[in-house]
């Protein structure tokens, strides 16, 4: 990949972080917005009108909401920030993938580390017959997976539903998006308020109105929130597995020490998966570690009986660990064995590697201020 041809574009008109005057309107659920409007003495149809402006008509200010009475617009403007945030910069790959940088001023409860503006990244991935937006759900991540650049920056805060849907609404290519994947920065099930709130807005006909069949949530597997996701939504599910062996998985993903992959798989066996709601397992392949045919055979045993597919992913090296990616020929042998045993397996095309947008490469660590209150 020719890194020198990757383009970095930033908007010179962007100023410093904007101080929010109040909570964000974008991201409120329909019920929450209705409660606010009811407290103002407004009729119930205002909720649908405002939702229309926020999610379908792309309003970027209260002034644009022409069918909302001026007094109400002024009251909302006084008490809420609309919540739209344009990207601060974009990097473009030679393969057409774009990585957008967004500022998030309200990192929500549980934020640690220094205060001030924080940043997240999203990836726009165009293809022949689709265009996918990869959204982030947290600033950083707490899970500390060895191979992931986001994990290297630790955790700086949660994204609320508004900050998650904003990644779509403020995307210049918004009208081209056919699919959304929750595979960006953060563990979605460690932020159920933001993740589930945004899922509802993405799929609600009153808001963005995407088909749930066009959305995939990817997770390392937290049992309680996973069950809630499966009971509440019918979007697709991807589980990060990366090794079928417990101790080896623990060395790559500390979460294994608390929630074993076998327990997650036992939970999944209580649910039905098909083309309507697909189940996939993500498997990054590391040379000399998890790429043997013995691993493939054990993986087959582990997922036996589940209607699922396995996505084999080329590893993109990040600093700070001793991992290397497996050779393509090794990946193909692994794939062939899975297929022989009846498991649908694909080798995922690597996109955006030259701009650090590929799987496991999103990170805003370089933009963090030093944590002066650290205890280590």
């Amino acid at each position: 990949m020719d890194i020198s041809t990757a383009k970095y574009i930033s908007d010179p008109n962007q100023t410093g972080p904007r101080d929010p005057r109040g909570p964000r309107l974008l991201g409120l659920s329909s019920d929450s917005l209705a409660a606010v409007l009811k407290s103002y003495g407004e009729p119930s149809f205002r909720t649908a009108q405002i939702f229309d402006w926020l999610y379908k008509k792309d309003a970027r200010s209260f002034d644009e909401m022409k069918n909302i009475p001026l007094p109400l617009r002024e009251k909302l403007a006084a008490e809420f920030e609309l919540g739209r945030e344009e990207p601060r910069s974009v990097s473009e790959s030679t393969d057409g993938t774009k990585k957008y940088l967004f500022a998030v001023n309200n990192a929500g409860p549980g934020a640690t580390g220094p205060r001030g503006t924080k940043f997240i990244e999203s990836a726009f991935i165009p293809d022949e017959d689709r265009a996918t937006l990869c959204v982030s759900t947290q600033v950083g991540c707490k899970m500390g997976c060895l191979f992931c650049a986001t994990g290297r920056q630790g955790f700086q805060g949660q994204l609320d539903a508004g900050a998650i849907v904003n990644q779509l609404l403020s995307l210049p290519e918004r009208s081209r998006i056919t699919n959304i994947v929750y595979m960006g920065m953060g563990e979605p099930l460690d932020n159920i308020e933001g993740s589930f709130g945004s899922l509802e807005l993405f799929t609600s006909p009153k808001a963005i109105g995407m088909s749930s069949k066009r959305i995939t949530l990817s997770t390392i597997g937290l049992p309680g929130p996973l069950k809630t996701y499966l009971d509440t939504f019918d979007s697709h599910l991807a589980i990060s597995i990366h090794s079928p062996f417990d101790e080896e998985r623990a060395s790559l993903m500390p979460i294994q020490r608390t929630h074993k992959i076998r327990d997650i798989i036992d939970l999944l066996r209580h649910y039905h998966f098909d083309d309507h709601r697909r189940l996939s397992f993500e498997y990054i392949m590391f040379a000399g570690i998890n790429d043997s045919l013995e691993h493939a055979r054990e993986l087959v045993r582990l997922v036996n009986g589940l209607n699922c597919r396995v996505n084999l992913i080329h590893y993109h090296s990040v600093p700070g660990n001793d991992l290397q990616g497996a050779d393509r020929s090794v990946m193909e042998s692994f794939q062939n064995l899975l297929k022989e045993k009846g498991i649908m397996a694909t080798i995922r095309k690597s996109r955006g590697e030259d701009i650090q947008a590929a799987c496991g490469l999103l990170s805003t660590k370089a933009l963090l201020s030093p944590d002066t209150d650290a205890d280590y």
């Binding site: 060895l146 290297r152 955790f155 608390t258 001793d322 205890d375």
Partner: protein
């Protein structure tokens, strides 16, 4: 429904709650399950509420569970845990986890226990269950009030115990170092680390990730580093 996902649940008595500084507590509960040191238990105060998990800090011979925790402002559980007193009851969910103190067959060196804040808890459980020899315990803290279980650790000569305090207090005993644990590891620590050593890290994601990188840069294989992250 809650019980199915989170394991068996029992209603257990609170035996005691000890104040450790303004924001930390050691909650002592009736021991109602068997456990392996390094495991965590679930705690909840409502029948339909999902539990929060906490490392068990007591040892296998203790007839109680000790849970070390800090107050999370606006949190769902800790403000209520703070109010508990002897005689109250809490729901305890069966211990889970596999963060065990065991040297793999390939490692012939020492075991380093590295923690920050309340991440010391599983190491306290190992220690109280009889592990100390060939163990080096490093604890990153902000202030003396966070030097949990210090008296116990200092009484055992077989354990090499050091705390690293980032706040303004001066060292209060020989084992206290001023400054960041991570800084020490990058410098003097590298001279002590041996290739066959095994490392167990417990605490915040930031600490685990940073220390893990320091160790791997020093030539320690990721297979010799075991981590539990508090999330």
């Amino acid at each position: 429904m809650v019980e199915t996902i989170y394991g068996e649940r029992k209603s257990c008595s609170v035996l005691d709650q000890q104040k450790l500084g303004d924001r930390a507590r050691l909650l002592r509960l009736e021991r109602c399950f068997d456990f392996i040191p390094g495991q965590s238990l679930g705690l909840s105060l409502g029948e339909s509420l999902a539990p929060r998990r906490y490392s068990i800090a007591s040892g296998t011979k203790d007839p109680w569970f000790d849970v070390l925790y800090t107050l999370v402002e606006g949190g769902e559980l800790t403000p209520q845990l703070f109010q508990l007193a002897a005689g109250d009851r809490a729901y305890v969910f069966s211990p889970i986890g596999s963060f065990f103190d065991r040297k793999p067959a390939i490692a012939s060196g020492r075991i380093w226990w590295i923690a920050n804040g309340t991440g010391i808890a599983p190491f306290a459980s190992f220690f109280r269950s009889g592990r100390a020899e060939n163990r080096i315990l490093l604890h990153g803290i902000r202030a003396r009030s966070e030097a949990y279980f210090e008296d116990e650790f200092l009484r055992e000569q077989k354990l090499s115990y050091r705390s690293f305090v980032t706040g303004s207090e001066e060292a209060w005993h020989r084992g206290v170092r001023k400054g960041r644990l991570s800084t020490w590891l990058r410098t003097e620590g590298l001279e002590e680390i041996q290739k066959d050593d095994y490392f167990m890290l417990c605490g915040s994601a930031g600490m685990v990730v940073e220390v893990r990188e320091i160790l791997m840069k020093a030539g320690i294989s990721h297979g010799h580093i075991d981590s539990e992250i508090y999330f």
